[in-house]
Amino acid sequence: MKSRHKKLALIGGAIALVGIIAALVLNALNSNIALYISPTDVAQGKAPQEKLFRIGGLVKEGSIQRQADGVTIRFIITDSESDISVDYVGILPDLFLEGKGAVAQGRLLPDGTFKAQEVLAKHDENYMPPEAAKALNDAHVRGVQRQAEEEAAKAAQPKASY
């Protein structure tokens, strides 16, 4: 083989390799992304039915219930606006506590419960997962807005009764 042909073969091989790998990567990335969706969005039906996704928020106080089989746990994740009931089979991470932030990954069942495959643990008791923090914050902002709108509406009402 001439050196020019060798070079062409090398370059061609490299391009083919990169192409295959890029296809592989994009395909894998596409099918393995878990979108994060807040409890309120889930309650409004914005969650995908068949795909894995993540929810985050606070574990509602007093909501952790152990089912009769001993290893299925049901709890509620809330962003203070909407509650989502979550089922998880297995042993929860140590830092999973009522009133603390948590992130769960799984699927939505037709009855509206969230079947978690994975519940994320944290290393630090004071740490709040960013997703959970965002859900709470968004819900809070909406709450404030609603309140402001209600007040504005009230103020706009004619004071006929007086």
Binding site: N32, Y36, A121, H123
Partner: protein, 656 residues
């Protein structure tokens, strides 16, 4: 008083680092011997000051000085002394100081073990290290000062995170940091070579043992972290593709590529530019890793409560380092030259393929790690990329790497003959195929991926053995076989040992991912659960008192076929100082399998003596994963001590 001394020492060390980072570099550029000569003493003083500062912080921990904010946040008077010492790097500020300490020691090591290095070169290397240290010291002093006082002091500290109260955590961060920071030496050598404009074989020979040393530490550090996650987190997994794990894995992949490309640069003068780029990348990825961990931009099990200004500082630092390095590279690279020519099939082309694949695999990991950040930054919502992505892209890229690992040692430099290699390795392939078919059948269930893994592992093992003994018999002459074995160059033996380590690792991964068994069950005292032929009988739970915690300790009888093996005592701990419960798994480790029990929670929280949720595992070959890493490191260690790195004056000194 002592914390203030530590603080002052740190400030002085920043000044010394600035001197070290400027005068010798300018001196080397303008040819001023006096300024060049400053590099050595400045390095000594710098290392001394940083070490002193570190000791001051350690003293504050040992003496329970809770008037220091950092100590109050990460220690407690009930904490046993060994954890009070390791608590020094249990938080952000102290771990950065540890990073600094490691870096000053690396600089000192370069200064001590590079007597043969020309003064100008040494001044440039140490000067580059000094500049990097200066940047980090500014970061510590302005955003993360561990010596900050809390006035008035508090009577009791908040305690070390219970997850970190473990022997694994005493050594995991120092090993990992030694690795991360070690790449700064390879980086400094590359920058020094670019500055001097001489990227030659001598430069490659100088940086090789340092790169290998950093790689050895990083390998051990990652393996240690993985092992710790396995036994301490109680989930039984050994790798989660967590962003922070990826952050340490990416420099490892590039570091591995760098070691191999340095070999080609040293032996044949090939890929010089490429090697320099890899050296810059390896260190940049170490910095990126620090940024990811410290800025809190990613959801990770490692995430700590964080401070955004720190993230921004590291990001600016990262941009400065990468930017100036690449600018320097762009300026100097065209004058470097191409090095020796090589054929389509040759040791060089195989190493190049290895490099491309390793870099590609690193890029896929980087993409998966940063993709959520990118999407978030573009306002497209928050997402996470799960382990299946990484498995799907990483494994296929690694398969050819493992395959080439068997062939490359047989290939000659410059031009190799394919038929010759084929003749040499065909029996190794046949033997590997036999093992790959037999082992899954012994385990009762055919798994194609496992068979492929075993095939590749066997292939690496047999080709390494074959190649080693071919060389032994070729160089034997009149000597005994054993004498010939021991007279092989250390780097040659080290290479094969490291490759065998990879094979052992692959066996562990292939076996455990297919044949592990896991059960989450509810158990009442007296009940038995069976996993893969092992019986676990639960004898109940009793309260146990630790130095700074109260624990519920379970007792299990492990037996097989009615034969008692041992008792297993997993614990659920509650630390006094924090509300965090902690699971301590009980593991019966073995060469062929681990069995693993961990306690979940009591079914009825008011009756801890009653039923519990329990997790039991059977993990075949899982210890081979970490064993393989240890063998890899051992191989690296042996290669580092090759004779030619010590006799460089004779062979390399002149060219420099």
């Amino acid at each position: 008083m002592i914390p203030e001394l530590g603080h002052f020492a740190l400030i002085f060390s920043a000044i010394v680092a600035l001197l070290l980072g400027t005068l010798p570099l300018i001196g080397a550029h303008q040819g001023r011997p006096a300024w060049i000569a400053l590099a050595r003493p400045a390095t000594d003083v710098f290392a001394l000051l940083v070490t002193f500062s570190f000791l001051c912080l350690t003293w504050a921990f040992i003496a329970n000085d809770f008037s220091v904010v950092y100590v109050a946040q990460h220690s407690n008077s009930l904490l046993p002394i060994e954890y009070r010492i390791s608590a020094v790097w249990g938080g952000h500020e102290g771990s950065l100081l540890l990073w600094m300490l490691m870096m000053s020691w690396w600089a000192l090591a370069v200064r001590l073990f590079s007597r043969q290095l020309p003064d100008v070169m040494l001044a440039r290397v140490l000067g580059t290290l000094g500049l990097v240290c200066f940047g980090f010291l500014l970061f510590i002093l302005f955003t993360s000062n561990p010596f900050e006082r809390l006035l008035p002091g508090v009577a009791e500290g908040r305690d070390l995170n219970p997850l970190l109260q473990d022997p694994g955590l005493i050594i995991h961060p120092p090993l990992l940091y030694m690795g991360y920071v070690g790449f700064s030496v390879a980086y400094a050598f590359a920058i020094a070579a670019l500055l001097s404009g001489k990227l030659d074989a001598a430069w490659a020979r100088w940086s090789r043992p340092w790169t290998t040393a950093a790689w050895v530490f990083l390998t051990l550090g990652i393996a240690m972290g993985s092992w710790w996650a396995y036994y301490e987190l109680g989930w039984g997994g050994w790798w989660f593709w967590d962003p922070v794990e990826n952050a340490s894995f990416m420099p490892w992949l590039i570091g591995t590529a760098l070691m191999h490309s340095l070999a080609a640069t040293e032996k044949r003068g090939s890929f010089k530019n490429w090697t320099v780029l890899l050296a810059i990348s390896a260190f940049s990825l170490s910095l990126l890793g620090t940024f990811l961990v410290r800025s809190g931009v990613l959801t990770s099990v490692h995430a700590f409560a964080t401070d955004p200004t720190r993230g921004i500082f590291i990001l600016i630092f990262l941009v400065a380092v990468v930017g100036t390095s690449l600018a320097l590279f762009a300026w100097r690279a065209p004058s470097v030259g191409l090095g020796g020519k090589f054929g389509l099939v040759s040791r060089e082309s195989l190493l190049l393929t290895n490099n491309v694949l390793l870099v590609v695999s690193c890029a896929t990991v980087l993409l998966g790690t940063l993709y959520p950040l990118l999407i978030d930054a573009l306002g497209l919502g928050k997402i996470s990329v799960g382990p299946p992505y990484f498995d799907a892209v990483f494994v296929p890229v690694m398969v050819p790497v493992l395959f080439l690992m068997g062939i490359a040692p047989f290939a000659r430099w410059k031009e190799a003959s394919l038929p010759e290699i084929q003749r040499a390795v065909r029996w190794a392939l046949a033997a590997a195929a036999v093992v790959a078919i037999a082992l899954p059948l012994i385990y009762g269930e055919w798994k194609t991926l496992t068979a492929l893994g075993i095939l590749l592992a066997g292939w690496i093992l047999f080709t390494a053995g074959l190649n080693f003994f071919q060389r032994v018999s070729a160089t034997r002459g009149e000597r005994s076989l054993l004498a010939s074995v021991f007279s092989q160059p250390a780097s040659f033996a080290g290479m094969h040992l490291a490759h065998i380590g990879v094979a052992v690792f692959v066996v562990g991964v292939a076996m455990v991912s297919s044949y592990e068994e896991e059960k989450d069950v509810k158990m009442a005292p007296g009940e038995t659960v069976e996993v893969s032929g092992y019986s676990f009988t639960f004898n109940g739970v009793q309260a146990v008192q630790g130095p700074n915690y109260q624990a519920a300790q379970g007792e299990f009888d492990l037996s097989m076929d009615g034969r008692f093996i041992r008792k297993l005592n997993p614990e659920k701990r509650n630390y006094f100082s924090s509300s965090m419960p902690m699971t301590e798994a009980a593991i019966d480790a073995g060469l062929w399998r681990d069995v693993y029990v961990s306690l979940g929670e009591p079914i009825n929280p008011d009756q801890p003596e009653g039923e519990w949720a329990v997790r039991v595992y059977y993990k075949p070959f899982v210890d081979w994963i970490w064993g393989g890493c240890v063998i890899m490191s051992l191989g690296g260690l042996i290669a580092m001590f090759d004779r030619r790195y010590r006799n460089r004056r004779k062979t390399g000194g002149k060219q420099a």
